[in-house]
Amino acid sequence: MLKKSGKRILRSPVTMIGIAVLTAHMAIAALAPWLTPYGSSELAGMPFEPPSREFWLGTDILGRDYLTRLLMGGRITISVALCGVFIAIVAGAFFGLAAAWHGGMIDEVIMRLVDTKVAIPSILLVGVLIPGFGQSVPVLILVIALVYVSGVIRTVRALALTIAPQGFVTAAVLRGESNLSIMCREFLPNVLDLLCVEFAIRMSSAILLVSSLSFLGLGISPPTPDWGLMVSEGVGYIHTDPWLVIYPSIALSTLVVALNLTTEGVANALGLDAARGMTKG
């Protein structure tokens, strides 16, 4: 099964491009502090210096080295999205499995809370929680987790409901295993594929969300280098210095597209469908 999936991935050039770009992004994000010649908020030159040997991509509106900021600009967004989505996946898997397995009141309560969350536009959730609790990194992570957890619960529950009636589950029950052990030993291995795909889909969506928030002034706080922030700082100069907007936009878009293409390829190879999670919630 795994071998066959691997072959399918290798056969798809689009997926391979996705994986290559994604790997490059991850390598840059991980190594950025050692690649950059300047401090990310250091006023190394005059504002708006053109590209030169000192500043390969020139300087930004305050005179900071643009290459440094560009290389560093994905780290915080990716980390925030990663942590937030991880929490959402763990919590979503727990509550989704609990709802499916216990059924009855527990299922009812969990699913009605999920419905409630879905009926509230995420933009309101974010627009209220961030002014209320500040735009520090922990708050952002929790907001991301909250935004995505409901979708994960729904997906996991739906799959778990198809697993529950199967023989190996009944066998475990007859063996007298505890609920926790049934959830971990019988259900979890069977939803793991799905969780991985869910993780990747939500991840791309979360990166977009964090960047949008930074653009709107509700996300990452200056002076942290961040692509969304860099776009918003540069948007007034689009007619005179379009690169201030174009570079971070390209960085952001290639990351998200690569992530989506990879997810798509891997999900196809695993025989799962990646479309369901693609709501901009």
């Binding site: 419905d115 879905v118 509230i120 536009p121 995420s122 959730l125 949008s212 798509e264 479309a275 709501t279």
Partner: protein, 322 residues
């Protein structure tokens, strides 16, 4: 079956109350109340705490949070959304115009998105895993990967500033004529469609791919029905069921998308009203706006469920039993 529907509807009420409770608690968490934010820093620099307390009492903002919430809820349950805090204007009057405009925007978007999504979805499903599928699916993913604030501003730059065809920012009054409103909403609609088409077309493709290999379609093929008729009269209707399932989620996503797009284009809709109401701590307006959005999502949920029951015999049977 009717029992199931009745249960759904009563649960929807419960959810609406939960939503309103959440919204109320959330607005309580925000620093400052309607009075604080209606005053400028200049005002606050000269007013004494006593004067502020007096003004707060006049507006009823000094009552405990629970009392304020319950008095709002008791009105809302009978359809009275109350008055705004500072200007005492009926909330219904304030949100009527924006509501009409947002519905207009949503309808226009749907009217464009559904045919386009079908076109792309059918194309991709029919030539599955071949060049047309790859091109269409990849571009859809690229469209999805661009945030609305980027695509919206790019459209403005191209079609309003470089080629002055459409207005860059909408200046119509909230109660502007419907046709004029539609005319200026071409760029906003395009922005939302670009962002949401990937999702819709992928869903359709998925449903179609499953339908195209089903026995049902296979039988039609063997009976000598032409290939295009197979697609349009057999596969497309069968693929609608899984699509409808996701429709409610889609509406919820659309609501958030509309908020951003309304802000980018200054479209006088409910989203812009919501942003302003949050900024001004006009809790009754926030409540009413979110309430309407939630009703929209729940209605779509209900409609989707009912259509699935109507379209899919298997579900019909099980719903009848449960």
């Amino acid at each position: 079956m009717f029992a199931a529907i009745a249960r759904r509807i009563s649960l929807s009420f419960l959810i609406l109350i939960l939503v309103s409770l959440f919204v109320f608690l959330a607005t309580e968490v925000l620093p400052g109340d309607a009075l604080d934010v209606s005053l400028t820093d200049d005002d606050l620099a000269v007013l004494t705490p006593e004067q502020l307390a007096e003004m707060r009492a006049e507006l009823g903002l000094d009552r405990p949070a629970a009392v304020r919430y319950l008095s709002w809820l008791s009105g809302a349950l009978v359809g009275d959304f109350g008055n705004t805090i500072i200007t005492r204007a009926p909330v219904a009057d304030i949100i009527m115009g924006p509501l009409r405009n947002s519905i207009l925007l949503a309808l226009a978007t749907t009217a464009v998105a559904i045919p386009v999504a079908h076109f792309i979805g059918i194309l991709a499903a029919y030539w599955r895993d071949r060049a047309p599928d790859t091109i269409v699916s990849t571009s859809a993913i690229v469209g999805y990967s661009i945030p609305e604030f980027v695509s919206g501003n790019a459209l403005i730059l191209i079609f309003a500033i470089w080629l002055p065809i459409f207005p860059a920012t909408i200046v119509l009054y909230t109660d502007g004529p419907i046709l004029e409103m539609l005319a200026v909403s071409i760029l906003p609609v395009a922005t939302i469609v670009i962002g949401s088409i990937a999702y819709l077309s992928r869903l359709l493709r998925l449903g179609l791919v499953e339908a195209l290999v089903s026995d049902y379609v296979e039988r039609a093929r063997l009976a000598g029905v032409s290939e295009w008729r197979v697609v349009f009269t057999h596969a497309v209707p069968a693929s609608l069921v899984p699509t409808l399932n996701a429709a409610a989620l889609y509406v919820a996503g659309l609501l958030s998308g509309i908020v951003v797009v309304e802000k980018v284009f200054a479209y006088p809709g409910l989203g812009l009203e919501l942003i302003n109401a949050v900024l001004k701590r006009e809790v009754p307006v926030v409540q009413a706006t979110v309430f309407l959005g939630a009703v929209g999502v729940l209605l779509m949920n209900l409609l989707a469920d009912l259509s699935i029951i109507a379209l899919d015999p298997r579900v019909r049977r099980s719903a009848g039993r449960g």
